[in-house]
């Protein structure tokens, strides 16, 4: 590991096994999980050193101790005897300590100028389960787990291709977290890739523990309300994005892959779109886009109508709306804020609670507060309907991050609507749209294929075309190859 090797006072391994052990113990400050076992091999006595917490004792026994015992009197070097797949010879003590920390055991013998490091890492594995926040109705039910190698395996299993490349980095001065970049070498845009390399190499942090950390260090605009990288726990989704020429970033200890560069629309797509039929898939997508607009603007439009443009309502509607507003003590903006705030409270309270309590909170919050607040005459009926609709719409977005961004954007729009009516909404939407047009994800346009407009890209945007109509890859990640082989190959006779 980097910081061990670069240590200035690194010492060479001595001929005395006991002395080596003492030095290692002092480097690790006498930690209690450092275990040793003495061993003799070809009449020289030695010691096996390992960290009990991350080394697998079974593996040590099978691939180190047993072979050494069996070959006690034979001629032969340690390399030929030990059956483990990963064995290296080490001459520096700090390098040895680094190996020890990644789960190797060290073999030190008297009279040998160096040590052997054997990889005996214990694999703590979790079986792939379906990610709870990215469920699909049909299709793969596998999700990423917390182990990096296993996650890479899940991707490789789906993409048996010689062009799939994994590049490993180590991030975090204290944590030494392994981070892997995965991409298709024949598809990914080299300039985008080198920009990602440049950004990831220049990260300097103590801790690199989650994709959220990486995202913040690598994204173009931190204060933008829109997420510029797509976090996903689905291997099939990751694979589909890799085949569009994008890059996936995975890190050890998290079950989330970050996809970059992405567009605004990727947050509204779900693998389900392609598992269901063309018409229904398109309908669901359209529904999500509409719900995005509803979630963002509905409270603002309602406030604007109540406050400024009552005359826009047709006669038949004026009476019921006016009747529900009768006797409400607050202006519509306060009403809306109170209701949106309540809903956010219920959501935030429910997220981290265990499911049964979460449900109770939902019922108490939703039904009881909603009903009581109306019958008490604080909030109008129509406002409750509007806010409830908004909340439901904001949860139809398949990615949690984008849903959160939308909910944040409602507030400025509501304020603008209460100050200037429709004019305020239009101005607010213009600023949001301008921001979307200006936003880039690693140098590629974020709001593609709308801006810049790309007609063939629209085939897979708001609605989805049949697969055999999509002969061109999504161009927003600027892949090397444009064409994509999707043909039916047969025709009706």
């Amino acid at each position: 590991m980097k910081n061990h090797r670069s240590n200035k006072n690194s010492k060479p391994v001595t001929m005395n096994a006991d002395e080596n052990l003492h030095v290692i113990q002092s480097i690790l400050h006498g930690t209690s999980d450092l275990k040793t076992r003495t061993i003799t091999y070809q009449k020289s006595s030695g010691v096996i050193i390992y960290l009990e917490s991350i080394a697998d004792t079974e593996k040590i026994q099978q691939s180190v101790i047993e072979p050494l015992n069996r070959a006690m009197d034979d001629e032969g070097t340690v390399e030929t005897v030990i059956t483990n797949t990963e064995l290296s010879f080490i001459e520096e003590l700090h390098e040895g300590v680094g190996k020890l920390l990644t789960g190797s055991c060290l073999l030190s013998f008297d009279g040998m100028c160096g040590m052997y490091a054997v990889n005996v890492t214990s694999q703590l594995t979790r079986t792939p389960e379906e990610p709870t926040n990215e469920k699909v109705v049909r299709g793969s039910h596998e999700g990423f787990v917390d182990s990096l190698t296993q996650n890479l395996g899940l991707i490789r299993k789906r993409l048996e291709n010689k062009n799939l490349v994994v590049k490993q980095y180590v991030i975090g001065q204290s944590t030494n977290t392994k981070v892997a970049l995965v991409y298709m070498d024949d598809l990914v845009n080299k300039e985008v890739l080198s920009e990602i390399f440049r950004r990831i190499e220049s990260i300097s942090a103590d801790m690199g523990f989650s994709p959220g950390y990486l995202e913040e260090f690598m994204e173009d605009k931190t204060f933008s309300p829109f997420p510029q990288m797509l976090p996903t726990e689905r291997p099939d989704r990751t694979m589909a994005h890799l085949l569009d020429g994008r890059v996936a970033v995975l890190s050890e200890g998290t079950a989330t892959a970050l996809i970059l560069p992405v567009t605004f629309l990727s947050f509204f797509q779900s693998p389900d779109d392609f598992n269901s039929r063309v018409l229904s898939g398109s309908f669901f997508r359209l529904l999500r886009m509409v719900s995005f607009l509803v979630a963002m603007t509905l409270p603002a439009v309602y406030i604007a109508i109540i406050g400024f443009h009552f005359e826009i309502l047709p006669n038949e509607l004026i009476l019921p709306v006016k009747a529900s507003l009768e006797g409400i003590p607050f202006p519509p903006i306060i009403e809306a804020f109170v209701m949106v705030f309540t809903i956010e409270l219920i959501r935030e309270a429910g997220v981290r609670l265990p499911t049964p309590i979460g449900q109770t909170i939902g019922i108490v919050g939703g039904l009881v507060i909603g009903d009581a607040v109306v019958s008490a005459g604080f909030i109008s009926n129509v406002m409750v309907i509007v806010i409830a609709l908004t909340a439901v719409a904001s949860f139809t977005v398949p990615t949690y991050e984008m849903g959160a961004s939308i909910r944040i954007l409602t507030f400025p729009l509501m304020i603008a609507a209460s100050l200037l009516g429709f004019l305020g909404i239009v101005m607010g939407l213009m600023v949001i749209l301008l921001h979307l047009c200006k936003l880039e994800s690693i140098g590629t346009p974020y709001f593609a294929p709308f801006a810049p407009l790309n007609l063939s890209g629209l085939k897979d945007a708001v609605i989805r075309f049949p697969l055999w109509k999509m002969n061109n890859r999504a161009m927003d990640a600027l892949p090397q190859k444009r064409s994509q082989r999707n043909t039916k190959g047969w025709k009706n006779k």
Partner: protein
């Protein structure tokens, strides 16, 4: 595919950039203005106006072809010399800022009349300028992306207007050419003023990443689209109102749309105005860009227009606050439109003649 680092736009985006610069604040009162001069033959005036614009565009094209990588400002520097060029550049910047403030004051006036009678004008103007600043700072390509996207709203515009076809009287345009040719030509003059915006060709052309003839094609397409759009609007207004009623409605489009109502929307003119605000914003942004690009050309080391956007916007806000009341705003607007004779018609043609006579061209870099 390469990552685009340099700031260029495609000829497709160029079409919409010019359309959006042209279609703007004037669209609401345009049919009325032309009608006062040309009567029920106004739509012919608009078509003739389109032809005049096309001739001008071709002249612009010949001029810009000689200086492919320069905007109007650099052309001025290299044909008329630093001093005279500098003065004319300054005048152009002032002209663009004046047009920008004219847009702002007309916008605030109409909003005051139609939607928000009590909101102070300065607030509307400052907000609009703020959006302009945010939009124009940064590369032109972002602006072009925005223009292309909001052009979808023009379709809403057309649809709302098409609805009125059910309620028109076709006899209103007859007899064609009743008053003779002179009133039609006078109407053409008014029509030209609402088509102002195509002079963006002189500023944006070097940013377009395509051959010179394609740029002309793009500009021509946008001219054709705008001409047809305008004459369609004028025609519909004439058909809808007839002769007697027309003189009473200074914003004929709004009055016309106001008279319709759907089952779920009673006042469609509010929807129409909301869409119109976006068009106003885009043409204001175009002029703001032109002015700040001009300010940039004075600096030797600065290669970006972004730092100057703020100053141009402040100037336009201050100027737009000066005229108050419908009458003063109208006067200011007339003044600015007459200025455009000099800056859109006179000076570019002079410049073309000068460069043709002196055989000045941009040096080809090998």
């Amino acid at each position: 595919m390469k990552l685009k680092r340099e700031d260029t736009i495609t000829s497709f985006q160029f079409i919409f950039l010019i359309i959006q610069a042209q279609v703007g604040v004037g669209i609401l009162s345009m049919p009325f203005n032309i009608y006062t001069a040309a009567g029920h033959d106004s739509w012919i005036s608009v078509l003739i106006g389109g032809c005049v614009v096309q001739v001008l565009l071709i002249l612009f094209w010949i001029l810009m072809k000689r200086f492919p990588s320069m905007t109007l400002y650099e052309v001025l520097d290299s044909t008329t010399g630093i001093f005279i060029g500098g003065v004319i550049k300054g005048l152009y910047i002032i002209y663009f800022i004046l047009v920008g403030s004219n847009i702002l004051s007309l916008f605030s006036e109409i909003i005051n009349i139609w939607i928000l009678p009590l909101t102070p004008r300065w607030l509307l103007i400052v907000l609009m300028a703020g959006i302009g600043i945010y939009a124009v700072r940064g590369p032109v390509k972002f602006l072009a992306r925005f223009y292309v996207f909001v052009s979808l709203l023009l379709i809403v515009f057309v649809l709302l207007v098409i609805y009125s076809f059910w309620e028109v009287d076709y006899l209103n345009i007859f007899p064609i050419g009743e008053k003779g040719i002179m009133p039609i030509l006078k109407g053409t003059e008014k029509a030209l003023f609402s088509m102002i915006g195509f002079e963006m060709y002189l500023i944006v052309a070097p940013y377009v990443n395509s051959s010179s003839i394609k740029k002309l094609k793009a500009a021509s397409i946008s001219n054709v689209v705008v001409t047809i759009f305008y004459s369609f609007l004028t025609l519909i207004c004439i058909l809808f109102f007839g002769i007697k009623e027309f003189i009473l409605v200074p914003e004929p489009l709004l009055y016309m749309i106001k008279s319709f109502s759907f089952k779920i929307l009673e006042r469609i003119d509010l929807l129409f105005l909301s869409v119109w605000i976006v068009s106003v914003a885009t043409s204001y942004m175009a002029y703001l860009f032109a002015a700040s690009r001009g300010l940039m050309s004075f600096s030797k080391k600065n290669k970006e227009h972004s730092p100057y956007v703020f100053y141009a916007a402040i100037l336009s806000v201050l100027i737009s606050l000066m005229p108050e009341g419908v009458y003063k705003v109208g006067q200011f607007s007339t003044f600015v439109t007459y200025l455009s004779y000099i800056f859109v018609l006179g000076l570019p043609v002079l410049l073309l003649l000068l460069s043709l006579l002196t055989h000045r061209k941009e040096k080809q870099q090998s």
